[in-house]
């Protein structure tokens, strides 16, 4: 069983064009279709990751902006004449 698994793995590494995961997308299709499948797979994979990245970046910026504002308000309150009294 282990020998069979090794043989399959070796085949997958040495003849990748013949070992395609999707039986519908690739065999018998031309290069343009294969290229479209590949590019759209990459697009659909990266898009949600990109969106989450943008959301995370925006949240980090928002947290920093709120912290900066809090510090400014606190400093203003400490420096105001009423605070000295």
């Amino acid at each position: 069983m282990r020998a069979l698994a090794s043989a399959v793995m070796l085949a997958a590494l040495t003849v990748p064009s013949q070992v395609l995961a999707c039986p519908v997308c690739s065999p018998g299709r031309d290069d343009a279709t294969q290229q479209a499948f590949l590019s759209m797979t990459i697009f659909m994979t990266l898009l949600p990751l990109m969106m989450l990245g943008v959301l995370f970046y925006w949240l980090v910026r928002r947290i920093r902006a709120l912290e900066t504002r809090d510090i400014a308000i606190q400093m203003q309150a400490e420096l105001s004449p009423t605070a000295e009294e």
Binding site: R29, A32, T33, A36, M40, L47, M51, L66
Partner: protein, 197 residues
């Protein structure tokens, strides 16, 4: 354990527990993310079918899409987005002064939708229907879905405009509607590129 956490949370200063953004804005961002994947699926399917089409794309015997007229319409939609950005800036300084740019943004958006409707009528008369070919099916599905979103976003902007006239509009409401409209504006050039060109 949970009681201890609650105790610590109660002792925290109020600023540490303040929300990062209004709920409406966060909700709209999540909705827009879902809609982006919705359109990405359409674009993906369209690209794959187009690449495997026999006899070229559009299929033989099917009418060509009006590229030039739609480019002009695209410019109107982009201008609408710019006017809404301008309205946001004006609203931050003086809410009353945002009326005109918001009205112009809505008018440009309505023009875009009306122009698309006229384009559809012309294409239907030329023989491009949902059942005439995969070209027609994809065209009406993708452009129609975008038009439906444009109408919904226009209604959101109209709601904001009415509240602005009543002096009841607050920034989170405007921002939520803005995010929706910016999505409609931003996704259109991509659709134009993939479907029309």
């Amino acid at each position: 354990m949970s009681a201890k956490v609650l105790h610590i949370a109660k002792k925290m200063p109020a600023a540490r527990r303040r929300q990062l953004a209004p709920n409406g804005v966060i909700g709209m961002i999540i909705f827009v993310f879902a809609e982006m994947m919705f359109f990405a699926g359409f674009i993906s399917a369209h690209t794959i079918v187009k690449s495997g089409a026999l006899g070229g794309w559009p299929p033989p015997g099917q009418p060509r899409l009006p590229i030039e007229q739609t480019a002009f319409n695209t410019a109107a939609l982009l201008a609408s987005g710019a006017m809404l950005f301008f309205a946001h800036r004006r609203f931050g300084k003086d809410p009353g002064s945002a009326r005109l740019p918001l009205a112009i943004a809505m008018a440009l958006g309505a023009f875009f939708v009306a122009f698309q409707g006229m384009e559809w009528v012309a294409l239907l008369n030329e023989g491009l229907t949902v059942t005439s070919s995969t070209h027609g099916a994809f065209f009406y599905l993708i452009v129609g879905a975008h038009a439906a979103h444009a109408v919904a976003a226009l209604l959101a902007l109209l709601y904001c405009f009415v509240r602005l006239m009543q002096r009841n509009l607050v920034m989170p409401q405007l921002m939520a509607a803005e995010i929706f409209w910016y999505f409609v504006v931003a996704v259109w050039p991509l659709l134009y590129w993939r479907v029309y060109l």
